[in-house]
């Protein structure tokens, strides 16, 4: 084996190891953003494998894929990053409580996990990590309402500043939204 053969196989081994680590992060990653950057890395590693293969075998068959790779990962990251849910301290607390309860259930069922006052014991006992986001969502109220309120404020200011074409429209909406939050 010449020096180039050694370099080829060592590089492919490194790339495969890096791809395996990225796949593990995609599987394990706590948030969708971790998965996005890991998928990005996997895509680049696939392009790198093709580049190394092109360099070793002296052909140019895959160069278009390498060009397209630069655009694909960018589009995916930008598209997904728009829709990330805010990680609130409340949901973190519920996840931590669910983990503590799961540990208590798996370890020893003798000691009862302490249940906060705000939660019903029947609902929180069955709460696991995969569904706790829904319980947190139901408990915290409707989160996207804040943005709607800001838009309604802007609409109301625009209406009050300009000629009020339909002054009755924004205020009932705000009343209903505030009634919903109360």
């Amino acid at each position: 084996m010449t020096m180039l053969d050694w370099a080829y196989w060592i590089t492919q081994f490194f790339l495969a190891l890096g791809a395996l680590c990225a796949v593990y992060r995609v599987y394990k990653g706590p948030s969708v953003l971790d998965r996005v950057i890991s998928v990005d890395v996997i895509l680049i590693i696939v392009g790198s494998v093709m580049l190394v293969d092109m360099a070793y075998h002296r052909h140019t068959d895959f160069i278009l894929f390498v060009v397209v790779t630069a655009v694909i990962g960018f589009l995916g990251a930008v598209a997904i990053a728009r829709y990330v849910v805010v990680r609130t301290p409340e949901s973190e607390d519920t996840v931590r409580q669910a983990e503590a309860q799961a540990a208590a259930l798996s370890g020893g069922a003798a000691d009862e996990p302490e249940i906060p006052a705000g939660q019903s014991p029947a609902g929180s006992a069955q709460e696991d990590e995969s569904t706790s986001w829904f319980a947190a969502l139901a408990r915290s109220g409707f989160a996207p309402k804040r943005k709607n309120d800001a838009e309604h404020d802007a609409a109301a200011e625009a209406d009050s500043a300009g000629s009020t074409s339909e002054p009755g429209i924004p205020h009932p909406r705000r009343d209903t939204s505030e009634g919903g939050s109360a």
Binding site: L4, L15, S31, I44, I45, S48, A70, V84
Partner: protein
């Protein structure tokens, strides 16, 4: 030592360095504690690793015909990597996907705090 073996050796070194960048990205993704440090690791193969592999391929091809395409691939990656990193990092900061206790200095916190106290300034970008 002829020119061919010299070029082959150079390409081999570039190849291994490019592979090491991807390996570093994988280990960094595996070991680092929060989103922004993982992003720091994940950008290694995007710029330097891809540059090394593109150079290795261009050296091995021994022709100038495909070099513009290879430079285009690397340039596209160089242009789009900061954009995706900015968007992901901003979304991670705004949605609190980070360990604030690991930060040495949070310069963005002062700006966000000042903007959130002013009335009439939208904290979110208008759609």
């Amino acid at each position: 030592m002829t020119l061919d073996t010299f070029l082959d050796g150079t390409a081999a070194v570039f190849m291994v360095v490019g592979g090491l960048m991807s390996l570093a990205a994988g280990i960094g993704l595996l070991r680092f504690p929060d989103l922004h440090s993982r992003m720091h690791a994940a950008t290694k193969p995007q710029v330097l690793g891809l540059l090394m592999l593109v150079l290795a391929a261009a050296i091995m091809w021994r022709s100038w015909a495909w070099v513009p395409i290879a430079i285009l691939a690397w340039g596209l990656m160089l242009l789009t990597a900061p954009v995706s990193a900015h968007v992901v990092g901003r979304a991670g900061y705004r949605t609190k996907h980070m360990r604030a206790d690991l930060l040495a200095d949070d310069e963005l916190a002062a700006a966000v705090d000042r903007l959130s106290r002013q009335r009439g300034i939208r904290r979110e970008v208008k759609d």
